[in-house]
Symmetry: C2
Subunit: 216 residues, 2 copies
Amino acid sequence: MARRMAKSHDDLRRDAVAAARALVVGEGTAALTVRRVAETIGCSVGTIYNIFADLDDLIVHVAATVLDEMHGALFAAPLPAEPVAALRDLAQRYLAFAVAHPRLWTMLFEYTTASERPMPDWHLERIARLVADVQAHAAAVLDGSGADVKASVDVLWASVHGITALALRGKLGIVTAESAGALADRLVVTFLAGARAERAADVAEGAAGTAGEADR
Amino acid sequence: MARRMAKSHDDLRRDAVAAARALVVGEGTAALTVRRVAETIGCSVGTIYNIFADLDDLIVHVAATVLDEMHGALFAAPLPAEPVAALRDLAQRYLAFAVAHPRLWTMLFEYTTASERPMPDWHLERIARLVADVQAHAAAVLDGSGADVKASVDVLWASVHGITALALRGKLGIVTAESAGALADRLVVTFLAGARAERAADVAEGAAGTAGEADR
């Protein structure tokens, strides 16, 4: 007479993350408690604490699934070969992802963990992959040193993030859901034009310097 | 025999806003309740509800004081006469204000009111004044049409906001409190260089168009 198999550890973990995610989508991160997750998947609170260190740990696992989806939303569909067009598309895809999943996006960026634990490596690796894949596209436009490309991508990312945040919140009336796409596009186009103008000025200055030295 | 004067309506309002603000500064917006404000200033909950429609209304009054302070932080000290330098300073002052008052800044931008009430006019006017005063400085750099200046200021503001938000939260590791100032400066300088390069290209194109017509 076989006993009914208990759910495996992996199944429980997957179910708990899915239940937590559904609670965040439905009601926001503030509604998420270990007790509600346990009730949803039909196990005890203790079982959840056997799998996750605490609520923050569970949230980091949900956040990892959101980062994976964000990566898919940014890169799964082909991007234009022309690199400025590719970066413009990436900005619009980021904005669209946030608009489609406002509570998950808010959880990712605005939730502050109670614990002082550093983010686990597997979480940081997901972030690094996202950033590196955007940098690869930016490198083709900016054609500068690695540090320059990194700083420019940081600026662009944080800026599109700010436009997105204000659009989702509808705060200050500066950015609305309607204007956000156009503002993000203006940001990318104008910032990249500025980066190239600065680079052209540097090259011209360098050439002038070399010419001056040759005269001596 | 005179009865001790009860606090005037204006005094109560001022005390309640100050108490609410102190609670937000000390513990964050989530800790703010009408009951705690009433306890702090020594009146009944009902008295608070005689002055403010609800908690959201009280929060809007606190937010107004934060907007006034932000205006002071941006504009009270003289700005450089050179307009790019002035905008660079404004970005740094905005960032510094947020870093000095992280919970008030978070309340202003991330708190979502429960009620569907539109923001009162006296609140919107404070926001409009802030935006108009930044636009006045941007107009001197951008020298474009009114709509262009407005859109550019919207982009710059939202972008500096995004850098600030990521710096305060320490999220994703993209922006840190240490890198935020340099990133905000790069944003302003490069975006304005791009806006001027685009404008120069428009002028050149316009001149080429006119020359072409004259040739005919």
